[in-house]
Amino acid sequence: MVGDLPGSGSLPGARLPASYLTPGSSSFVDLLSTHAPDLVPGRRPVPDRAGADIAPHGTTIVSLTFPGGVLMAGDRRATMGNLISSRDIEKVFPADEFSCVGIAGTAGLAVEMVRLFQLELEHYEKIEGTTLSMQGKANRLAALIRGNLGLAMQGLAVVPLYAGYDLDAAAGRIFSYDVVGGRSEETGFHAVGSGSLFARGSLKKLYRPDLDARTAALVALQALYDAADDDSATGGPDVARRIFPIVHVVTAEGGARLPESEVTALAEEVVAGRLVRPDGPPARLEQEGGA
């Protein structure tokens, strides 16, 4: 039959492959592994040598919840060994209307994983006429990460951070992963990537459960600044080139990237504050709220 290889481009005018017309899975990954297995990330042969320094790595992603939503922010640097391979890479993507995913680790593999994940969610939604539950989406991502285990063992790990607004629970939720696909839900805030230790320390001191969206974005930018301050692989705000972190906000109305003008204003506020106090806003020593 013509058009047996839709992955490599069925010719216009070809009949739909018979297997497309048979009932089956609602998963795009399943479809891909039947029709174009060479395009499934986990199916490729694993190289027998470690190669952590041969491909660009993405670095720090932070995410935090606020009443009515969740946001995620990522710096713009990708490194290759001791070199900076990109200063304007984008590492935070919308996964679907109500969630977003940020990537740390091998950038090329991570971007491909995100593309597949986005399509997995969209495909399910179109076929089934309904969206997956928040946990369902988080589990699908875990399965994709697990498929990359072989490469992760060779130093080409992908560690995403997943966040979204759960319409059923009416709250923002954050899921983190390890290299083998272990999934755990985080409360309040989380960070991944090389600068995540410093970002998390910063978030610990600045996070409040009652932040509004704007202040939450400010907290995220402060945390990224602190990560860039101590981790060479995380990029700080690039005032000269006007390159600032990407901030994605998800609420009950859906998700959207914060407009560049707003991020610029916030980033300039952070930088101005650091000119006065280079270590950032001090945390209060005594407990807040009295009681």
Partner: protein, 239 residues
């Protein structure tokens, strides 16, 4: 010894066409109407779960009449084809034209093959472009013929009556409310044996309406209009 009856190929094809046409004529009509911001699909469909109009891809929608199981499997195949193509190339490389072609080949092959029963379906494949002039609307029939439609199109049970109403009342470049008003009125339009109009009003609960809306910010331009939204849009026109 029994001799099989000779049936001429013409007769065979005619029988198959009659069979398919009868099946399609039993269902309610679906209309597609081009308006200023895109393409609107409307149908009378009391079911909230079994859709006649669906999303295929960013700018592409699918609508069908006839046997549910048959057009549903075509719809899913279309989604698979589109997603597969978009993943292996780019999202912009998924076009209504190639999808319509695949459907046409499939329907044509099934119609003319002796073994399979012809599909009792008719399909719309619509795609919106950057401006109204670039919008495309294809109508495919049970035998795999493709018609390139403009302004509006109708298929299903009372296609001729509904089409006649649209011919009279359709205006080019209308806004959503006007286009929706005309489409819904057309679906409710009917004539009795004496040729008198016996129009009825279709309630918003009985309508399935979706649009490909180029003003949407998201890359996926398909949007369903639920009963509540329909009531407010339709209310705005009659007021």
């Amino acid at each position: 010894m029994s001799t099989p009856f000779y049936v001429s190929p013409e007769q065979q094809m005619k029988d198959r066409a009659d069979f398919a046409r009868k099946g399609i004529a039993r269902g309610r009509s679906v209309v597609a109407v081009q308006y200023a911001d895109g393409i609107l699909f409307a149908s009378e469909n009391p079911s909230q779960a079994l859709h006649k109009v669906s999303e295929i891809y960013d700018r592409i929608a699918f609508a069908a009449v006839g046997r549910y199981n048959e057009f549903e499997s075509l719809r899913i195949a279309g989604v698979r084809l589109a997603d597969m193509r978009g993943f292996s190339y780019d999202r912009r490389d998924v076009t209504a034209r190639s999808l319509a072609n695949a459907y046409a080949q499939t329907l044509g092959a099934i119609f003319s093959s002796g073994g399979e029963k012809p599909y009792e379906v008719e399909i719309f494949v619509g795609e919106i472009g950057g401006e109204a002039g670039a919008d495309q609307l294809y109508r495919l029939t049970y035998d795999g013929q493709v018609f390139d439609e403009h302004r509006y199109a109708v298929m299903g049970g009372a296609a001729d009556v509904v089409g006649a109403y649209l011919e009279e009342h359709y205006t080019e470049g209308a806004d959503l409310a006007t286009a929706l008003g005309v489409a819904v009125a057309a679906l409710g339009h009917s004539r009795n044996e004496r040729g008198e109009t016996t129009d009825r009003e279709i309630g918003v609960e009985q309508l399935e309406v979706a649009v490909l809306d180029r003003t949407r910010i998201q890359t996926r331009k398909f949007r369903r209009l639920r009963a509540q939204q329909l009531a407010s849009v339709l209310g705005a026109t009659s007021a």
